[in-house]
């Protein structure tokens, strides 16, 4: 697979994509194109398929029907190697905190570089502390520089999510995916973490796709807003065109929107 460089053509394209888990249809008949440099927010009530959409785009899930295309290539035809080389250009921040609790912050952040390392480098990195400067700088940006060598299980939820942001961005990904990055946090922490994520994402990644309920914080910083409802794409407009009435309709019968 080549590097993701083309400016005009859509980097990511979903064509008639559906995904079901057993009987449950999470997504159906999704058509979507994302270009390089775009910043996209995915909105929608809980259970509308936001996570599934992001997982499909990030190659963490395979679609039940339809195609996921990256620069025109169908993901389903890729070898393991090609799959890895795509994943290595992504940054991923998820709602579940998948930081290894036994490792130090440093090692958890360094794990973001694993995809670029040779087996030797990986084994040696277990003995030597490598990339200290790089990690220190990244942790500095998320405000945790002083705790680089603390074990991760000593952190609070908000702090863990900051580390997750650092891990997702340390290798300068082309596209940053964030799947409800603040849903497990209290409102005040969530707001600062979300701002940090957007700010850092703009600095280090070219494109951003993030799912959230947090319309007000996100709206000024994204180019485009996509709305999902019951597994269907019901909204796809430039961010500045989104009004309260549109959102009311999207979230009708639900209260999660903030």
């Amino acid at each position: 697979m080549t590097e993701l460089v083309s400016e005009q053509a859509p980097v990511l394209e979903l064509s008639e994509v559906g995904k079901s888990f057993g009987e449950f249809k999470a997504l159906s008949a999704i058509n979507l194109k994302v270009s390089l440099g775009e910043r996209v927010a995915v909105l929608g009530p809980s259970g509308s398929g936001k996570s599934t959409l992001i997982k499909l785009l990030a190659a963490s899930l395979e679609p039940s029907c339809g195609q996921v295309l990256v620069e025109g290539q169908d993901m389903a035809t890729w070898s393991r190697r090609e799959l890895r080389s795509y994943r290595r250009q992504l940054g991923l921040v998820e709602q579940s905190l998948d930081l290894v609790p036994q490792l130090s912050l440093h090692r958890n952040v360094v794990a973001g570089l694993l995809s670029k390392w040779s087996p030797w480098r990986i084994m040696l990195s277990l003995l030597w502390t490598t990339d200290k400067q790089e990690v220190a700088q990244m942790l500095e940006e998320v405000g945790l520089a002083s705790r680089q060598f603390d074990p991760t299980h000593t952190l609070s939820g908000g702090e863990k999510q900051r580390v997750a942001i650092a891990r997702a961005l340390i290798h300068r990904p082309t596209i940053l995916f964030a799947d409800e990055p603040t849903s497990s946090l209290d409102p005040a922490t969530a707001q600062t973490v979300m701002k940090l994520l957007i700010e850092e994402g703009q600095r280090h990644a070219q494109s951003m796709v993030l799912s959230t309920h947090w319309v007000s914080v996100v709206q000024p910083h994204v180019d485009r807003i996509i709305g999902l409802r019951e597994g269907r794409l019901v909204l796809d407009v430039p961010a500045h065109e989104v009004t309260d009435s549109v959102l009311d309709e999207l979230y009708a019968g639900h209260q999660e929107r903030r």
Binding site: R84, D98, V100, L103, M123, T129
Partner: protein, 548 residues
């Protein structure tokens, strides 16, 4: 950079390379130490030794299968079971009260009052119970067995007493620790109602630890029967006597039969223990109680012999030796050196075996071998078959290595490479590989998949996901198990010395053989002091590793 001056330094920062330096220094020291003790891999391939090993191996191709010998082996196996059961019964009778007395029960926070009589007893009783447990535990059962063989004569009786005493120490200490780690609230509320210490123990603490006690008791039953099967080496009945005889007279066909019987017993034991663990606790308690009763009735030991004038005289000589140990500097120094050799052997063998087990364990853990910790694990039929083959082979190796007790390994290696510390280290190492391989495998099976899978989703390869997602989860437990095994192996190393495999066991064997009870007293003293010191050190270390 000026900002570095004001930036607070993290307390846990490790300079780059320090970890590697410490590790390599440790490895070098370990190898040097090993050679100092006498680890010479070349000995494995000497002509005479290889010929002996080959003869031994040939015995397994044609085990002795005549009806009479088989009947004898079966009798001895049953005797081993009887010894194990009644030994464990004795251990529980001694160990449980000592454990309860030795445990620190939750107390109400109170102003210090004038000490009543009961308080003073508690001050004396608890340390006394603890020290008795420590002494019982530090001396391997084979020493007790041989001692009582010399005092009471050959037969299964000494083995029962030996297992009873040394297992009482192990069981009592663990039971006490379990009681102390129970939640204090129920006990406290009983205290507030004015319950006596016994009432608190029985109603506030015991109900919480009952299941752990039973589970551990079952595990100890396995150990007791395994132990009973080998104590015959010093003349204390059971399968061990046949194993010892056949090695001494180079009858390797009979040896093969006896070892296969031992293997069968161990497998039978593990299966029945697995079944018992699935039933309620009453089944386990009942099995142990009935077994102990059956054992002590069928063994036909004349317990009255313990109380004859003859036995009293012998015991008197033994105790007299203890009241007057040899304390001249040369002898104490020589004993300390022998003990240090034992510790060195145990360290070398434990580390070597753990390293090997660490490398082999992923192949014996299905979760890791089949890469089940990844989202896109290889799913082809060829892959699955290959994995299954590797998995079964590795598991079989672990099982066989584990089923053969250290002492049997020692007998084999003494035949193969001659007496000395090298044989002892090989024996301890071989058994430890089997134990650690299985334990490490179990740790690996228990890891959480979501961490390696999260790394995989971010493009980390199989190795990366393993090194950063799987290994950190397993490492604290692997380290802790290794340390614990080191403690156990010091005792085991003292044990294999009995068949000429170096260390302090050799010297103790000689002292008991010659009735030199004054020397024996000094040796046991050194053994108890060093073993309990290392135990304390190591359990502190383990606590720190696990709580990190």
């Amino acid at each position: 950079m000026p900002s570095d001056l004001v930036k607070p330094l993290s307390t846990r920062e490790q300079p780059a390379g320090l970890r590697a330096l410490v590790l390599s220094g440790f490895l070098i020291a370990w190898w040097l130490g090993g050679w100092g003790i006498g680890f010479e891999p070349g000995k494995l391939f000497q002509k005479d030794g290889l010929a002996n090993a080959l003869a031994l191996f040939q015995g397994f191709t044609s085990p002795a299968l005549d009806a009479e010998f088989i009947r004898r082996i079966m009798q001895l196996s049953v005797e081993s079971f009887a010894i194990g059961f009644s030994g464990l019964g004795l251990a529980l009778v001694i160990g449980i009260p000592l454990g309860i007395w030795g445990a620190r029960l939750p107390a109400l926070p109170e102003r210090s009052r004038k000490r009543s009589f009961v308080d003073i007893t508690a001050l004396v009783v608890r340390p006394a119970a603890r020290s008795i447990l420590t002494i019982l535990r530090s001396i391997p059962e084979i020493i007790w067995a041989f001692l009582f063989v010399r005092i009471l004569g050959l037969g299964p009786g000494p083995a029962v007493i030996a297992i009873g005493l040394s297992f009482a120490g192990i069981i009592g200490k663990l039971f006490a620790e379990l009681m102390e780690s129970a939640a204090p609230e129920p006990a406290m509320s009983l205290r507030r109602l004015g319950a006596s210490p016994l009432g608190v123990a029985l109603y506030g603490v015991l109900p919480q630890v009952r299941h752990q006690w039973v589970g551990y008791g079952l595990f100890r039953l396995e150990c007791a029967i395994r132990s009973a099967a080998i104590l015959g080496v010093v003349g204390a009945g059971g399968l061990g006597s046949e194993i010892d005889l056949s090695i001494r007279y180079f009858q390797y066909d009979k040896l093969a039969t006896a070892l296969l019987a031992l293997l069968l017993c161990v497998i039978l034991l593990e299966i029945s223990s697995l079944i018992l663990r699935r039933t309620t606790a009453y089944w386990s308690i009942g099995t142990i109680a009935v077994g102990a009763l059956w054992g002590s009735l069928t063994l036909g030991v004349v317990w009255f012999d313990l109380f004859t004038v003859q036995a009293a005289k012998q015991l008197g000589v033994f105790l007299a030796g203890f009241s007057n140990p040899v304390l001249d500097f040369d002898f104490v120094w020589a004993t300390t050196q022998a003990m240090l050799e034992t510790v060195g052997m145990a360290l070398f063998a434990t580390m070597g075996a753990s390293l090997l087990a660490f490398m082999m364990a992923p192949l014996g853990a299905w979760q890791i071998l089949s890469m089940g910790y990844l989202q896109d694990a290889p799913k082809g039929v060829t892959h699955q078959r290959l994995f299954a083959l590797v998995f079964m082979t590795v598991r079989l190796i672990f099982q066989v290595f584990r089923a053969m007790p250290e002492l049997v390994w020692a007998l084999i290696f003494v035949v193969w490479i001659g007496a000395g510390p090298m044989a002892g280290m090989m024996a301890i190492g071989a058994h430890t590989i089997g134990i650690m391989g299985r334990l490490f495998g179990e740790v690996y099976e228990d890891i959480e998949n979501r961490y390696p899978r999260a790394l995989e989703a971010r493009g980390a390869g199989r190795l990366g996901a393993w090194a950063y997602g799987v290994l950190p989860q397993a490492m604290p437990q692997l380290l802790s198990f290794t340390l614990f095994r080191f403690e156990v192996n010091i005792r085991a190393t003292a044990m294999v010395g009995f068949v000429g495999a170096g260390g302090i066991g050799d010297a103790i064997h000689t002292a008991i053989s010659l009735f030199h009870f004054r020397e024996l007293a000094t040796q046991l003293l050194v053994l108890v002091v060093v073993v309990s010191f290392i135990d304390a050190l190591s359990s502190e270390l383990r606590l720190r590793i696990m709580s990190r």
